[in-house]
């Protein structure tokens, strides 16, 4: 078990966004999180790496433990190094391809050119982007296509050597071929990392997840093995969502 969430509540002002979530995230699994808009799946994700701390009027109750340690007690920079995140829209920083990947390691104190070059190459290879960009590492990251930018963002996240990677609808803006490449990368990454994938695409959750959690209106309806969820869910609402009757 990598992460344990206990009775987690999150409030944005008067909005009760997460209502008592308890679950476990296992080591080296891909946990898919599905559910309609406003179901709280993204809030859940942003609680795990404490990116919610940046929001105004946010309040949290309950506990999130990583390797048995309360995440609120871990230094926030260190926590975000250990729990990386890939966003919905591919959002490189306004830097070159190389500097985008090297940004994180640099922030954590690595400055030797050789070492950075190794990290960049390794990270880009792991996100299946190396072959496409190895000849133009110094050109702007904005010159890449959407799918390439998203894989660059994955490489950027890998470069700080996280333990857990959070994916917030990573393929929502991508074409099917790019999506396939990102999914391929995710399946490969599972060997070394623990992955949490928030997605609006239930088929994607079915394709890559080991287990799936279904969120609805701030509640966790159920979490179970992927085939169980998609063939024989315990809760009616899960079945209805998956077969497209609402959401």
């Amino acid at each position: 078990m990598k992460i344990k969430v206990e009775d987690l509540h999150v409030y944005y002002g008067s909005i009760h966004a997460l209502k008592g979530i308890s679950m476990e995230i296992r080591r080296n699994e891909i946990l898919g999180a599905i559910g309609p808009a406003n179901s709280g799946k993204t809030s859940f994700l942003r609680t795990l790496n404490r990116l919610n701390d940046l929001e105004l009027h946010v309040r949290m109750e309950g506990q999130v433990l990583m390797d048995g340690e309360d995440i609120q007690k871990i230094n926030v920079s260190l926590l975000r190094k250990r729990i990386g995140m890939v966003f919905a829209l591919p959002l490189p920083l306004p830097l070159s391809i190389f500097d985008n990947v090297a940004y994180g390691p640099r922030m954590h104190g690595i400055h030797k050119k050789k070492e950075l070059a190794d990290i960049v190459e390794k990270s880009l290879k792991a996100s299946y982007l190396w072959e496409e960009v190895k000849d133009r590492l110094s050109s702007s990251a904005f010159k890449l296509s959407g799918g390439q930018q998203q894989r660059l963002c994955i490489a950027r996240t890998l470069a700080v050597e996280p333990e857990v990677i959070l994916f917030d609808e990573p393929c929502s803006g991508l074409d099917p071929i790019s999506t396939a490449k990102v999914e391929e990368a995710m399946l490969e990454l599972k060997e070394k990392y623990t992955l949490v994938l928030v997605t609006n695409n239930t088929k994607q959750a079915a394709r890559v997840s080991d287990r799936v959690a279904f969120f609805l209106m701030g509640e966790l309806v159920e979490v179970d093995g992927t085939s169980k969820i998609f063939t024989n869910p315990r809760d009616n609402r899960t079945g209805e969502y998956i077969t497209g009757r609402f959401g």
């Binding site: 260190l78 990386g84 959002l91 922030m107 950027r156």
Partner: protein, 302 residues
């Protein structure tokens, strides 16, 4: 019955509307034209009066003459001490105001709790609302003795005092433009950087400042334009001596102060009178250039 009545009403209404539309359109056109026209007229007038100086004084003597003795015999109209006075004061003000303004903008925009942000913003904007003569007066009785005392000078009426004062006057412009520039940086840059475990300062320094650089530069340029054009406060606290300043501790006189101080006593149509206009041209060109560069920098990215 009702329908006919309604139609008739509509027709007169449409006519009325067309007339008012016509009038409003022309009025707006005129006001638009007026602003451009005034600028052109002012420049033409300035040029006409200023250029008259060069019938009696050579351009070279005016531009690089080291002495400004407008009422000696023969008079000498060297603009260099005044130009250098303006540049020294401006340089000092920029050196003080830019780091301070940048820090203030970062503090207001990024660090201060959002509930307090508006109070700080209002405070900075209030600074812009203080009339310059009031600031100059306050500077005269507080800043000038302080500078004299701190640096053991014979007089506190120095370039440094003027720079300090002007730095304060340029701050609101610099802060609000830089803050806008920070706000225009996509939220995703911040989040992306934070998500990689960068700290607040690392994010500001490595992502925010580079991304907002054009806006920061524009803020600096516009603040500079404000400083060069400022008259009242500098006239009161820089000592008003038309000599070439050699350090920040020398007194100086700026171009603006010269025009303001001497316009009243210059005989209309005399070389002195024309010389003041010639200073006006120099000033106009400098502020025009600064604004042009600021504009260019600000809109380059769009």
């Amino acid at each position: 019955m009702l329908r006919i009545f309604k139609t008739r009403e509509t027709i007169t209404k449409i006519q009325q509307r067309q007339i008012s539309e016509f009038i409003i359109e022309k009025l707006i056109f005129l006001s638009g034209l007026a602003s451009v026209l005034f600028v052109i007229l002012i420049f033409v007038f300035l040029l006409k009066e200023g250029v008259s100086l060069f019938k009696t004084v050579s351009l070279k003597d005016f531009l690089i003459g080291k002495f400004w003795y407008p009422i000696s015999d023969p008079p000498r109209f060297g603009v260099l001490p005044l130009l250098m006075g303006s540049l020294w004061v401006t340089l000092g003000a920029v050196l003080i105001a830019v780091p301070l303004g940048l820090g203030c903008a970062i503090f207001i925009g990024q660090i201060v709790p959002r509930s307090l942000r508006d109070y700080f913003k209002a405070g900075v904007e209030l600074l812009a609302a203080i009339p310059s003569v009031v600031l100059g007066f306050v500077g005269l009785v507080t800043l000038v003795p302080l500078v004299r005392h701190l640096f053991h000078l014979r007089s506190g009426l120095t370039v440094l005092s003027g720079s300090l004062m002007l730095a304060f006057m340029a701050m609101p412009t610099i802060v609000s433009i830089i803050e806008d520039a920070f706000n225009a940086v996509p939220k995703s840059y911040r989040e992306g950087s934070f998500a990689l475990g960068a700290t607040q300062w690392q994010t500001i320094y490595r992502v925010l400042i580079p991304a907002a650089a054009p806006g920061i530069l524009a803020g600096v340029m516009l603040g500079m334009g404000r400083v060069i054009g400022e008259t009242m406060a500098v006239m009161m606290i820089t000592g008003n001596a038309a000599i070439l300043p050699k350090s920040f501790f020398d007194p100086a006189r700026t171009m603006t102060a010269t025009i303001a101080a001497e316009m009243g006593e210059a005989v209309r149509g005399s070389s002195h009178y024309f010389a003041l206009f010639a200073i006006g041209i120099v000033l106009f060109l400098i502020t025009f250039l600064v604004n042009l560069v600021a504009d260019f920098v600000l809109h380059r990215k769009k």
